[in-house]
Amino acid sequence: MDPLRQDEFDSQACGSIAPKAKPCPRPKPGEAAGGCSFDGAQITLLPIMDAAHLVHGPIACAGNSWESRGTLSSGPSLSQYGFATDLTDSDIIFGGEKKLKDSIDYIAGRFAPPAIFVYSTCVTALIGQDMDAVCKEAADRIGIPVIPVNSPGFVGSKNLGNRLAGDALLQYVIGTGEPEPETDLGVNLIGEYNIAGEMWDIEKLMNSAGIAVTSRITGDARYKEITWAHRARVNMVVCSRALLGLAKEMESRYGIPYFEGSFYGAKETTYSLRQMAYLMNDREMERRVDRLTEREEARLSQELRPYRKLLRGKRAVLYTGGVKSWSVISALKELGVQVVGVGTNKSTEDDVRRIADRVGDDTEYIPEGGASRIIKTVRERKADIMIAGGRNMYVAMKEQIPFIDINQERHKAYAGYEGLLRLAKELTYSLANPIWKLAASPAPWDKEAPPYDR
């Protein structure tokens, strides 16, 4: 493998548009949180549902991570299989390349996938396996694409892994296929992973405005559709700044215009749909989008009324990464929920600017991870609810703070108009649950006056 991506180490970019922001900070030993680059690469590619995903390394990288994401499939489930070369001591000593080759052959023979993604991990990168060569040789031999994903955990954060996965798509997948002649070309959704089925809500909306989805990158995707992503007319980057590079590269290579958008909140959703139609340069479509969004917004505000009443003035602390840090703020604001604290840990300067546009002056920024910092903000700011990822869920439970899970592992879809309604409901259920009162009141015998000293 190459002398590992020196450019990534010197990288100033870390995914922001203007590469002037702080470099990806080195994780602090003893205080680090979050996944590795291998994890990030998997997050991006696993939603390609019909492909096989083979992890090349000792068992833990695959064994501890498979089936941990809430990305849903409408059909094929091969990507939910956990494949690993499961290296042992002797494989390490003798190189493991033969085992990799045999594993690829075995998977191709038994499962006949349209493609196999092969992930390197720390150990296989360290011992200098020529994974690219093995993959190339295998692809020639078995006649299906075998794609090396060079994103071992120790090159950096999860975010970098997303980007490296994007690079792999650019290098090996996009542009290698052509759509059927009668295919209606439209928008690529980039960085939408169909967590809890959000992709389906979005696609339904787009379709009712007459906008076709060309390639889903990668929520509920099929391998084939990504090969023709270069034929789309517009790229929308949803919720993953790490894949912005992919959109930019596609713009310069194939001339596809892109925009960054989100589907959290009615306003953002409307904006995104409009933006698609605008970039498609289709007046008729724009009119259709206008009609649709007006209708949907009116219906939504009707349905939201009872919840808005309950949620008005409630205070929330939001702790999530990247784009969600600002897009969810819009959604909450529409519901009347005030964001009194927001995590900026994984945000670029652009994200922070967008956050600033959306919150009041008295919102506290939480720059660094650590559950204790979040809890402190909740307490000091008298927040009613904490909105964060699953990792912090049980920390909140211990402190008896109402909580909503907003990250990859969750089971509720919050995108689009439907999603906002769902979010309103979830917030209400969570805040109104009797458990908070029950847990806060002591047992009867603890309430009693102290017994007389006899």
């Binding site: 590992l4 180490f9 994780p27 602090k28 030993p29 003893g30 205080e31 680090a32 979050g34 996944g35 590795c36 680059s37 291998f38 994890d39 083979l54 000792p58 068992i59 833990a60 990288c61 695959a62 064994g63 501890n64 089936e67 941990s68 939910q80 299989y81 956990g82 494949f83 690993a84 070369t85 499961d86 290296l87 042992t88 001591d89 390490i92 085992k99 045999d102 594993s103 052959d105 075995y106 998977i107 720390c122 990168a125 360290l126 011992i127 955990g153 120790f154 950096g156 559950a371 204790s372 809890i375 699953g390 990792r391 049980y394 439970m397 211990k398 402190e399 008896q400 592992e409 847990a439």
Partner: protein, 442 residues
């Protein structure tokens, strides 16, 4: 009898879990502890997420956050930094440094580094130890037991050899295996103490991962056996180990300070519980408490009630070695066919079993167990069970499709009864479902 492996190059749907996760689990059972994984970020993030998902509790763990250049040049600089930070910020009583495959392959010598560190910092009062746990060997079970062994080693180093040991014959050290739930450990502690013994469980997840509402956030573990109790356990008159993998730590105590030990390899079912209670009765001279006599009858009665349900049924179980051994013993008593037994790696206990056991993954379970009526494994097995049409019973680690799985009891008469009822109910439900669908299809 025989241990087999199916021939295939790749692992498909692995059931094996990285050893380091076992180490993190063991340390959750020690009060104010911090497991520190010497490796890259992901090696601690994955176990943390997985343990959180299973126990539905915050999990204490940290990492030395190695990046590529650190591995190549000086990995221990990161470790030192991590130690400095954790010690000064959180003052843990116990630190376990867990080496990974990465430090192993790179040949990082952190054991010596830790020794020097402790000498230079004049570290006293706490317990800091290291353990080598690359993921290309063993599984959760071996990671757990090796960690307990290293912990005991360090305890002995600290106090054991100095002076004479006063022995407390009314105190027993319990070494519970990795497959036991917090509720299991609690059940065992109650069982032993009902014969008049003091019990110190090492580690003790029953007081850390069983769910309590401690407020005041700390990144350290917030329950488990405290350090002074751990050190006091060196005075126990006896060690009881539950699970074959815990024999080595027990033996370590025996060799170093002469504590006799007794290993219970099986922990489930009538016979296994009989043995344990009989043993406790003999060494204590106390009668078996009445409630266990009642529970024994309850168990027998429920097995009688359920035996119609189990007649002619076949079961596959895919579990960690000790757990598989235990469960297999219980299945024996139910009189069901054990269609396939699959485990993650080979241990002496597994090699000595009278039944045929396969070392493999959940894909092997699917192939070998085709036609089974009941599938017992961790939650990764759900899809496989569906594909072969078996009822699915979650057990082992990780379980995420059932609330309170970590509080279910499998040991003692009560545990056997709970499991028998659960398995029976699942089979009954499956029968009802298939009846319904056959009616509809007609």
């Amino acid at each position: 009898m025989t241990v087999n492996r199916r021939k295939k190059p790749a692992s498909v749907n692995p059931m094996k879990i990285g050893q380091s996760l076992g180490a993190v689990l063991a340390l959750q059972g020690c009060y104010r502890a911090m497991p520190l994984i010497h490796g890259s970020q992901g090696c601690s993030a994955f176990p943390k997420a997985l343990l959180t998902r299973h126990f539905r509790e915050p999990i204490a763990v940290q990492t030395s956050a190695l990046q590529e250049m650190d591995v190549i040049f000086d990995a221990n600089r990161n470790l030192e930094e991590a130690l400095n930070l954790v010690l000064s910020k959180h003052r843990p009583d116990i630190i376990g440094i867990i080496g990974t495959e990465l430090t192993d392959v790179a040949g990082v010598d952190y054991q010596n580094m830790l020794k020097t560190y402790k000498r230079e910092r004049n570290m006293r009062g706490g317990l800091a130890f290291s353990v080598v746990l690359p993921d290309f060997r063993g599984s959760l079970e071996s990671g757990f037991s090796s960690t307990v062994e290293s912990m005991i080693d360090e305890m002995i180093q600290q106090v054991g050899h100095r002076g004479q040991r006063s022995m407390n014959t009314r105190q027993i050290t319990l070494l519970p295996g990795s497959f036991l739930t917090p509720a299991d450990v609690m059940e065992l502690k109650e069982l032993i103490s009902s014969f008049g013994f003091e019990v110190i469980a090492l580690p003790d997840i029953s007081t850390s991962l069983s769910g309590h509402l401690l407020t005041g956030f700390s990144p350290l573990t917030r329950g488990g056996v405290p350090l002074d109790s751990m050190l006091q356990s060196l005075q126990s008159g006896l060690t009881i180990a539950v699970g074959g993998s815990m024999e080595r730590p027990a033996r370590r105590l025996h060799n170093a300070i002469g504590t006799p030990y007794k290993v219970f390899e099986g922990a489930m079912g009538l016979k296994a519980t009989d043995e344990l209670l009989h043993f406790l009765h003999q060494i204590s001279g106390e009668p078996v408490p009445l409630r266990y006599c009642w529970q024994r009858e309850n168990l027998l009665d429920s097995m009688l009630d359920a035996h119609f349900q189990f007649a002619g049924m076949s079961v596959l179980a895919a579990l960690e070695p000790d757990h598989l051994y235990s469960v297999s013993g219980w299945l024996e008593e139910l009189g069901v066919e054990q269609k396939a037994l699959i485990t993650s790696f080979e241990t002496p206990l597994i090699a000595g079993m009278e039944r045929e056991v396969w070392v493999g993954d959940l894909d092997d379970a699917e192939v070998l167990g085709k036609g089974a009526d009941l599938w017992i494994s961790n939650s990764h097995g759900i899809a496989g069970a569906q594909r072969i049409g078996a009822a699915f019973m979650p057990a082992g680690f990780p379980v995420w499709n059932e609330l309170g799985a970590y509080m279910s009891v499998s040991v003692g008469y009560r545990g056997a009864m709970e499991w028998s009822n659960k398995a029976g109910n699942l089979l009954m439900q499956r029968e009802a479902d298939s009846r319904e669908s056959s009616v509809r299809h007609r």
